[in-house]
């Protein structure tokens, strides 16, 4: 996995709360068996509307998503993370994320940075006034910066460390394979087996 220390880019103001994973990527796009190509499904229903914010030419090259609270609720589909990444997003800012979405993002290297709703509002206003505004999400310093806005971001310590080091979770776990074997040898014999 690529390491993530900080990212600077332009941002998309998505003035919506409760953006569920069915909106991020509808089920009909989940049928691919690879990890790429999901950008066509990103916000597919909303993108049919020419007025949708992502369709505006001045937001063509965005890489940071600034969304309302409860982003990523709904299903466990990691395709939602891939769709955002395939489209070119590196980070999502919201005042609250759904747990599974947040976990999936951490695994895939998409930064989900939790900030105060007041910061989200300030960013929305600033970006709408100037779509070219450069936004920096700095994992090392744990802050977001944009013009005169400087605010702390809330990220889990362990996820931060893994993202900054670009480490693969499975590799980390397999270093403890002896502990897993020991645990297995102590499991009660009444526990079920599938085969």
């Amino acid at each position: 996995m690529e390491s993530f220390v900080r990212h600077t880019g332009t941002a998309l103001p998505l003035r919506r709360s409760n953006v569920d994973t069915d909106q991020i990527i509808p089920a009909e796009y989940l049928k691919r068996i690879t990890r790429h190509g999901f950008e066509d499904g990103l916000f597919a229903a909303w993108r049919k509307d020419p007025g949708f914010v992502l369709n505006q030419p001045h937001h063509a090259d965005v890489s940071i998503l600034v969304a309302g609270p409860d982003f990523g609720t709904g299903s466990s589909r990691e395709h939602a993370v891939w769709a955002l990444q395939n489209y070119g997003f590196k980070a999502v800012l919201s005042s609250r994320f759904a747990d599974i979405f947040r976990g999936n993002s951490g695994k895939g290297g998409l930064l989900t940075a939790q900030v105060d709703q007041s910061v989200i509002e300030a960013l929305w206003t600033a970006i709408e006034a100037n779509p070219d505004l450069e936004v920096t999400v700095d994992l090392e310093e744990r802050e977001v910066r944009a013009g005169s806005i400087v605010a702390p971001i809330d990220v889990d310590d362990y996820v931060r460390w893994r993202l900054m080091e670009g480490l693969d979770d499975i590799g980390i776990t397999l270093a403890h394979v002896d502990a897993i074997s020991t645990f297995e040898s102590n499991r009660p014999s009444f526990m079920p087996k599938t085969a």
Binding site: K31, N104, I170, T194
Partner: protein, 469 residues
């Protein structure tokens, strides 16, 4: 200090604990389906890893498969490719698989419990958010993403940070006609779709204890709609009776050892929860959703809310947006909402007791001519059982379609979809925009309300129907 049920199960599965790192948790059962697994198997292949415990892993086909003509090849080439990828992957990695046509095939969360694979005190995961269903047995069960699927396949463990705990206490007797589905819709409307975020919910109280295992599964299933990753109910005699004799339940001497252990899986009296919510069962009534998230629900006797009465600007916009999508006007009685389709099925309400509740209402009645009604059993075994009980004849005589097992119109990955603008009453768990087909409008309801709605053509409870002598 005492511990909660969730904490007991968590503690008994810690493989490794290290300051500043997540706990490494052992996984007792890993369920797999075709949608969230192909990229995980691919990852294993790329890194030259195998599946550590094929004997703790089970796959079934459910999300994409058709519910008619299942002896024919799957018509949609992409759906077919996904199902075939699962078959190839399971064969290559040695994972047991129940394919279309097998008597054990069905929705992953219906199959695990009915085989007796879901047991108290276990950790259960699946690349599907409704894995919370299995918490009805006192298991710690939660949905995971595809990277985590790969992690569990390779290591049988997951690095996780402990959840907080929330008690949802429902005391008292449920009024006649009020079901588990109504309880959970009322819970979600109360705490909101984000209210459970970061928590494991433990449902307790006399109303919960009085529920069957299937009702408890309906409740735990929708914990995710309240934002929680898992929901649990302490195991009791109802649980043990359900499990006893099932294919994978412990047998003979092992059964006694297991039950003795399972009886310890209760929240201690002196344990504290991080949060607590209390509901009065006797005040509940049939519940339906009017909006586009599962928290936007009201008693059936209510009316479509008005954005003007919203508490704040954010809520006002959310209500206005939902009403526009749903094509509803404020103040309209919920009972006046006419539907085009009624869907009975899914891992929330696709089990035998749900079908019995529907049959009880449909018996001797007919589905309204303006309504198409789809009844989709959650598994092949549920289908067979319904047929043994003659429920299928009641459904067909009433004018409903009786289908093969699968997820079907719960998420519309197979051909069962709503057309744009079409309105459904659905026993499934999500009323998100387009969930049941692009442009489709969904009202979440209980099986009994679904059946009464099919008869009248608009949202209704069985008590609204003229009685048949």
């Amino acid at each position: 200090m005492g511990r909660t049920l969730a904490e007991k199960v968590w503690e008994s599965h810690v493989v490794r604990r290290f300051e500043g790192e997540p706990d490494l948790l052992y996984i007792d059962l890993h369920l797999v389906h075709e949608v969230t697994s192909p990229q995980a198997f691919d990852g294993l292949r790329l890194s030259g890893r195998g599946v550590r415990r094929t004997d703790l892993t089970l796959a079934t086909e459910d999300h994409n498969i058709p519910t008619i003509n299942i002896d024919q090849p799957i018509a949609d080439p992409i759906s077919r490719a996904q199902v075939e990828a699962l078959r190839t992957n399971c064969a290559e990695f040695g994972v047991p698989l129940y394919s279309l046509g097998n008597v054990e095939q069905g929705i992953v969360h219906v199959v695990g419990p009915q085989l007796g694979l879901t047991q108290p005190g276990m950790t259960v995961v699946c690349g599907d958010s409704h894995t919370s269903t299995h918490g009805a047995f006192g298991a710690l069960a939660f949905g995971i993403g595809t990277s985590e699927v790969e992690h569990v396949l390779a290591t049988q463990t997951l690095p996780l940070k402990p959840f907080k705990t929330m008690a949802i206490t429902v005391e008292g007797d449920l009024p006649t006609g009020v079901t588990a589905k109504d309880v959970i819709l009322a819970v979600i409307a109360k705490i909101g779709t984000g209210g459970g975020q970061g928590y494991v919910l433990e449902y307790r109280g006399s109303a919960i204890e009085a529920l069957s295992i299937e009702g408890r599964m309906t409740i735990c299933n929708m914990s995710i709609e309240a934002g929680a990753r898992a929901g649990m109910i302490a195991p009791d005699d109802t649980t043990f009776e359900y499990l006893n004799g099932r294919d994978h339940a412990p047998k003979e001497a092992e059964w006694d050892v297991a039950v003795e252990y399972w009886r310890t899986l209760r929240t201690d009296d002196d344990a504290t929860f991080d949060a607590e919510v209390v509901l009065d069962a006797s005040a509940l009534s049939p519940f339906v959703t009017w909006g586009t998230n599962p928290g936007q629900g009201l008693p059936l006797s209510g009316s479509v809310p008005s954005p003007a009465n919203a508490a704040d600007e954010g809520e006002r916009a959310a209500i206005a947006h939902a009403l526009e999508y749903m094509g509803l006007t404020p103040g309209m009685p919920l009972r006046d909402i006419a539907v085009d389709t009624v869907f009975v099925g899914s891992c929330t309400n696709g089990r035998i007791e749900d079908l019995r509740a529907v049959a009880e209402v449909l018996k001797g009645r007919a589905v309204a001519p303006s309504v198409r009604m789809l009844i989709v059993p959650g598994s092949v075994r549920v289908r067979h059982q319904a047929q043994e009980e003659g429920l299928d004849e009641i459904f067909i005589a009433a004018g409903a379609e009786w289908r093969e097992a699968g997820c079907s119109m719960c998420l519309a990955m197979n051909p069962d979809k709503l057309a744009p603008g079409e309105r459904s009453a659905s026993t499934s768990n999500r009323n998100f925009e387009g969930r049941q087909g692009p442009g489709g409008r969904t009202h979440l309801v209980s099986p009994a309300v679904a059946a009464a709605t099919a008869v009248t053509g608009h949202l209704a409870a069985p008590s609204d129907l003229v009685s048949i002598v």
